[in-house]
């Protein structure tokens, strides 16, 4: 709620000053830095192959495919001592996989998992619990008058209830025509039914900004003040609710803060940049640094085709 309030707050005030402010792309020299290990381990209980990527950091302006870390040992163990060994996929890309038996999936709600990654003799560990998720009752399309869209634009809402009991945290992922909405501004996380951990909005339907944050945000190339209609007749939308740990909720909030930087006039209200926290640690505190995240989600989803 707060994020989009600030966004619209800024976009409003921009109106008057748009023609004064300006923005240009620059190419500053950045400090050189040693690459460090990146552990990208977001697992879920969908009945499909689970992957963990091990790569290294690269210079900020380098947009090439990250270099994989090969030859590591990657295992996940649950609190019943079952071990899941992730095997490198053979392309030396640093992708390690675990494939469930047909019709089965990874993990169970309530179980705790620990990750162990061994690279060049150094051991990195992390832990996470698979928390409960909630199911989506329906997805609707309705016309909502707002200056952000052209008139008579349909907006999608998903309808789901946060179960009773505070402290449920979710990552809601949306797909338009099978393509994941992957912009930083489209990251949609919830603490119970709302956006903030400091406000108890529990045991109700998700609040409107979360409900509506499944609409793609694409600027109209012909009108920079407006967005394209998110869904038109014939489009499909698929929504997944991933349960995440509290640490993952805060981690994703930080990713939003560090990656969805307000441009132009919005820079007035930019926060200082900080490194995003990690829950992966080197067992030797004086050893190599590591970044990345380990989380295990339970997922429930629902899709709908928009037919006007």
């Amino acid at each position: 709620m707060k994020k989009n309030i600030q966004t619209s707050f800024i976009s409003l005030t921009v109106l008057g000053f748009l023609f004064f402010s300006c923005e240009k792309t620059i190419y500053p020299n950045l400090e050189n830095a040693q690459p460090i290990l990146v552990v990208n381990a977001w697992l879920n209980n969908k009945p499909e192959k689970q992957s963990i990527q091990l790569t290294v950091t690269q210079p900020y302006f380098d947009a090439s495919t990250p270099t994989g870390v090969s030859g590591a040992s990657v295992t996940v163990m649950d609190d019943f001592d079952s071990v899941f060994t992730f095997v490198e996929d053979g392309t030396n890309s640093g992708t390690y996989q675990w494939t469930p038996a047909s019709g089965k999936s990874f993990g169970a709600v309530g179980r705790k998992y620990s990750l162990t990654v061994t690279v060049n003799g150094e051991i990195f560990t992390s832990s996470a619990e698979m928390k409960r998720t909630t199911s989506i009752d329906s997805i609707t399309f309705s016309i909502i008058p707002t200056f952000v869209y052209p008139e008579n634009t349909y907006i999608a809402d998903f309808w789901a209830n946060d179960p009773k009991g505070t402290g449920d945290t979710y990552w809601i992922k949306a797909y338009k025509n099978g393509v994941f909405l992957n912009k930083p501004s489209e990251i949609n996380v919830a603490y119970d039914a709302s956006t903030s951990s400091g406000a108890d909005v529990d045991d109700v339907t998700f609040v409107p900004p979360i409900r509506e944050w499944i609409n793609p945000v694409d600027k109209d190339p012909n009108n920079s003040n407006q967005n394209l209609p998110p869904y038109v007749s014939g489009d499909s939308v698929y929504v997944e609710i991933h349960s995440i740990s509290l640490a993952a909720f805060q981690h994703l909030q930080q990713i939003v803060e560090e990656t969805d930087r307000p441009g132009g006039f919005g820079q007035l209200f930019a926060k200082p940049i900080n490194n995003v926290s990690t829950n992966v640690f080197n067992t030797n505190p004086g050893g190599s640094k590591v970044v990345g995240f380990f989380n295990v989600s339970a997922v429930k989803g629902l899709g709908k085709k928009f037919d006007k």
């Binding site: 023609f19 792309t25 690269q58 912009k183 930019a270």
Partner: protein, 795 residues
Amino acid sequence: MTRPLLVACIASVFLSFAASAQSKHTLSGYIKDAKDGEVLIGATVLIKELNAGATANVYGFYSITIPSGSYTILYSFIGYEKIERTVSLAGDQRIDIELKESTRELKEVIVSSEKDPLTKVQNTEMSVAELDIKTIKKIPAFLGEVDIIRAIQSLPGISTVGEGASGYNSRGGNVGQNLILLDEAPVYNSSHMLGFFSVFNPDAVLDVKLHKGAIPAQYGGRLSSILDVRMKEGNNKKFETTGGIGTIFSRLAFEGPILKNKGSFIVAARRSYIDILARPFVKALKDGGALNFYDLTAKANYNFSTRDRIYLSGYFGRDNFLFSKDQGFSWGNQTATMRWNHLFNQKLFSNITGVYSEYSYKLEFGNDDANKFKWNSAIHNYILKPNLTYFINSNNELSFGGEGIYYYFIPANTIGTTNGIQRDVSLAKKYNLETSLYVNNIQRLSSVVSLDYGIRFSQFRSFGPDTVYHYNDTVPGIRRTVKSFTAHKSGQASTPFGSWQPRFSAKVQLSEVSSIKASYNRMVQYLHLISNTTASNPLDIWTPTSQNILPEIGDQYTLGYFRTLGKEHEWEASVESYWRATQNQIDYINGADLLVNKFLEGDLLSGKGRAYGLEFYLHKKTGRLNGWISYTLAKTELQVNGINNNNWYPTRYDQRHNLKVAAFYEINKRWSCSANFVFMSGTPATFPTSRYTDGGYVVPYNANDSRGNVRLPSYHRLDISVRLEGKPSTSKIVRKNHDYWIFSIYNVYARQNPFSIYFSQGDQRVPPGQQAQTQAKQVSIIGSLVPSVSYNFNF
């Protein structure tokens, strides 16, 4: 200064008082402008024979006690004709004086060769910046809108993070460490339209004084500075209408006498009018939307007797940004001040001030009644402030009094309705009381040495009902979690925080034209502005001191050299250095959630700060060409565990060099022009070194985990303006009204000054399987020249 030393000082005052019990009499009165009866704050009274003097206080009152005898008394104020009176003083005498503005003929630049007895060189005050409204109106302004906050930014030691940022930074302090007073009422948000315009209507302002160091004991509550804005009292001679049509605002002020010589009033209003012009073209505005800001300032005073005068003043301002009838934001300040000046006798002047002040904002969103979000927040203040000034003799001026401030905070009243079900997620209200007592004496030890010393004692406590959370220890970079909590019953007071705040300054007169001054003061701040963004925004909240956020404490030391130059002392020059060490400075944990968060205190970090600098100031006060040059060399840093590897790091507004030049030139009777040049070295920025992919997103990474590791390019800008006076009266046509045009250009050479540089992956959607392109962008808030014109009138 230790307490025994203070006691000794106070004792010496009374001793000198007792010793001087010979035949002495008091000369006192008010000094005002002959044209409209406005008080002349800081006008001076010189007893020529004794070379002793006094200064008119903020109510225009002066008092001086001298042995009986015959004296020549000179009343003066810069820009006004002096008045000389011969007085034979055989008893207490009251002389009210009205000075006339000097009407300068071209070529004949009048500056009296008389020496003003109490210029900046000769009084004990230091680290003070004063601007009268006439000068402020001459500085070329952004979009032609005269702006007090921007004007004070042209003085040494004062800076800003850039255009659009509200408030100002004084000697390395943050925006929330300034106490901005409008007729003694605190103003919590000094800006309209975010930070582009200040809330003070220039038509209603009389005088602006900024204390950035050596702050007298009567002021407290903020670490960095006190900006004391005094409103005009209104013309007590005749009715007058002032107004103007600018690019942003239209202004109208009406003032006049209430019963002849008994009192006067002023009502001044401003409103932005872009929305009225745009209404036919913008559908949202026709449907009940709004985009406007306005303020109303009013003041009245009345003399009940020669000894009693009551002042009432008020301010009401609001910014409205509504994109439909019931969706949008609004915010604003409201203040009301009542003052009672009472003269117990010729030597004892008292004033009691009662203030109500409020800052609030409101947001409302929702598609329909079943899905709505309402949010409002406010800070209310009730202040009572008695102050007495005892003009003991020509060598001692003793002030003492107290201040009680009751705060009532509404951090967030938030009600969300989702799918028809309402959830009240409001935060608990907070109730606090700040009480202070102070005593201050200005003492002239000899013709060479003068002292200004005092002490302020303050206490701050909270009242229930409230819940105090106890947090686990700070792990750098991780938000703190709640360990336990204690609930307090309604009315239950907490253990107060208390502090002694010594204030001391001294002047050594080296010659008639030069002096050295030094000062030490301790300031304590119990309210904290919670703002983690580059510029403070209207949604930022103020939060009180508690067990988890300790009072901010600042100790400042200053040393300065002051002198006047030129045959006629038309130049005023000073060099001042300062050092300030602060404790309990606030910074924020990564990912801190500052709005509507009942565990806010767990997201705050606390550390220490240091700021130091050297300020040079050269001011030519009179002549056809006048103006000033101000240069500041400064540094301001913080050290907070959990940020920048626990090392010192520069604040976001740290500027090494800051040069300002303001020049005013009178071409002829109708044309005059002014120019304003600014150079500031770049403020710090944090650049990433690397990137990596996490959860599908490209995340920037700073391998050294540093803060402020890079400097932005420097900032410079030139503004000019030309003023054209309306046709003067001729023998044929007598014009009753007076009018003038101002044409100005802001940012003349259209420099794209960088406000910030940010890093992101851009707006484009990254196709599956591809890597995001990361880029750096430089933002200029004002990237072009901005011309403007305004028409102003007065009749």
